[in-house]
């Protein structure tokens, strides 16, 4: 019997385990998932918790219940992967041999990588993250009683998970304070290392305009060097300073430390892979899916979803000794909450930036691309059900894995 070991049972790992379990012969292949605990969070839900739209209990489910019964889960911390010996060692002494290894342990916010940011007194008191369960629930408590002041949203560096979420946070914060009748007592500042509101020109211009409309000031090209938690200010490498009363940080995102210990990662502990097949550039039986690889796409559940459709077929071809015929194009789409019950939608890939238009049916929709509508917002809320009931079990979605230009409006040059 051969062993396929999947490290990480989050969005990508769960989808891969369930899809591959259906395709691989049960006598020939054993599939094992390794994770630290049984809690699987619906990560897109983190964004809504600070504003009271979701309760913490709305987003967490059992990992075990969403992975096929035929796939055992081994709980423990990963110490290292020995890619030559083809084994995974856990810190509790367990050693798992593998024939094929899939790394799906994603990325984590690392406030410890910026001096002053993880200051013990300030952390979850005047400085908050919202990409973790602990951070977002602590921020919800803070905002419930906050009297106002200068709220600074800062992205430390790219790439980050769900790169639109910081903008969504800004838009939702504007709506939240407006609805509580205290917007005039809150100054919102969006501080980013990017040259504008977003990475790609058409979307960046649109989002920049929305920041203006909502009176959220934008501080671009800000590469943060350190935080002074006592003086409550951010300091950039080119010596600009920004004061805050409340800092919402998106810390540096890094892959897992065992990736670095195993010599498998780049400077951010991301595993270098071929961007079309997700196979390691060094080892012929090692793959990295989801956020933990180095492909130049968004680190987002929708990328994991589209890439896994292509990955599964490639994996089956590869273990059968055939050439891989699938090629991932970097396809992603995501809803962007803009506040007051509306949202936008973007759809893009490695080569095509987010453009306006209709989705998924060209000219009809019902979703609109790069435009605020109520239907887009309903789509975002409905997506939580789709995530647990369609994506995680590996059921087919009526969306093509590769991006389509149909329905998109290309701007005049």
């Amino acid at each position: 019997m051969k062993n396929l070991v999947i490290l990480g049972g989050g969005t990508a790992g769960t989808m891969a385990a369930n899809k591959l379990r259906k395709k691989l012969d049960k006598v020939e292949w054993q599939i094992t998932v390794v994770d630290r605990h049984d809690k699987h969070d619906y990560q897109p839900g983190y964004l809504f918790i600070p504003f009271g739209t979701y309760k913490p209990t709305d987003i967490t489910k059992s990992r075990r219940k969403h992975i096929s019964d035929d796939v055992p889960i081994v709980y423990g911390d990963i110490d290292r992967v020995d890619a030559e010996a083809r084994t995974v060692s856990l810190t509790n002494g367990t050693v798992l041999p593998y024939d094929q290894l899939i790394i799906a342990t994603g990325v984590t916010p690392r406030p410890d990588q910026t001096p002053g940011l993880d200051d013990e007194k300030a952390w979850h008191s005047s400085i908050f993250d919202f990409y973790t369960y602990e951070g977002t629930t602590a921020l919800a408590k803070k905002l419930a009683s906050w009297k106002g002041g200068r709220l600074v949203i800062n992205i430390v560096d790219m790439p980050i998970k769900c790169p639109v979420a910081p903008l969504e946070f800004a838009f939702l914060a504007d709506a939240f304070f407006t609805e509580r009748g205290m917007r005039d007592r809150v100054e919102l500042v969006y501080v980013t290392p990017l040259p504008g509101a977003f990475t790609k020109p058409v979307a960046s211009e649109r989002f920049g305009g929305m920041l203006d409309e909502k009176k959220i000031s934008l501080e671009a090209d800000f590469m943060i060097e350190r935080v002074d938690p006592d003086e409550q200010k951010l300091v950039s490498y080119d010596e600009r300073e920004i004061d805050y009363d409340l800092l919402v940080t998106i810390p540096l995102n890094m892959g897992a430390d065992y990736v670095a210990r195993s010599g498998l990662g780049n400077e951010l502990n991301l595993v270098p892979v071929d961007k079309h097949t997700l196979l390691s550039r060094t080892y012929d039986n090692l793959w990295a899916i989801g956020d933990g690889n180095d492909i130049p796409a968004s680190k987002a559940g929708s990328v994991a979803h589209f890439e896994i459709d292509i990955f599964v077929d490639n994996f089956l071809e590869h273990i059968a000794g055939k050439p891989m015929t699938g090629s991932f194009d970097g396809h992603a789409n995501c809803f962007i909450e803009t506040g007051h019950g509306k949202a936008m939608l973007i759809d893009f890939n490695y080569d095509t930036e987010p453009l306006p238009g209709k989705f998924p049916v060209p000219g009809i929709g019902p979703m609109s691309l790069l435009k605020e509508t109520k239907i887009n917002h309903q789509g975002k809320l409905a997506f939580r059900w789709v995530y647990w009931n369609v994506l995680m079990p590996g059921r087919p979605m009526p969306l093509a894995a590769t991006m389509s230009m149909a329905g998109k409006e290309v701007p005049e040059p």
């Binding site: 560096d157 790219m158 790439p159 790169p163 990017l194 040259p195 977003f198 990475t199 790609k200 090209d221 590469m223 060097e225 490498y237 080119d238 780049n266 400077e267 951010l268 270098p272 130049p296 796409a297 968004s298 992603a332 893009f348 930036e353 987010p354």
Partner: protein, 104 residues
């Protein structure tokens, strides 16, 4: 792809002037590129540019500022002093490499 001539070198560039053909670059040309954007080259600047050229050759894409610092061992603050305001972009321009890709 536009072609332009700088310091007697005929080079292929993108809309923003970043070189698109790795082998069209040499250090003579880099001096002119640096002068064109008002950067004065020091020994440390050259070390950083050479690191970027080597790294591009092995990795296939322009290194980020963080990579230049963590892998190349350069002090980020020092790079801001050598290539003021937008070091990643300016260094890529001088090194004759594609503009650093902003991931979506």
């Amino acid at each position: 792809m536009p072609v332009t001539t700088i310091a007697d070198h005929e080079i292929h560039v993108d809309d923003e002037g970043f070189m698109t053909v790795y082998d069209e670059w040499d250090e003579e040309l880099a001096k002119s590129l640096a002068a064109a954007i008002g950067v004065e080259m020091t020994d440390e600047s050259w070390r950083a540019i050479r690191f970027m050229r080597e790294d591009f050759k092995s990795e296939g894409h322009t290194p980020t500022l963080r990579r230049i610092s963590t892998v190349g061992g350069f002090d980020t603050k020092g790079l801001f002093a050598l290539f003021p305001k937008k070091p990643a972009k300016k260094m890529a321009y001088i090194a004759g490499l594609p503009k650093p890709a902003g991931c979506v």
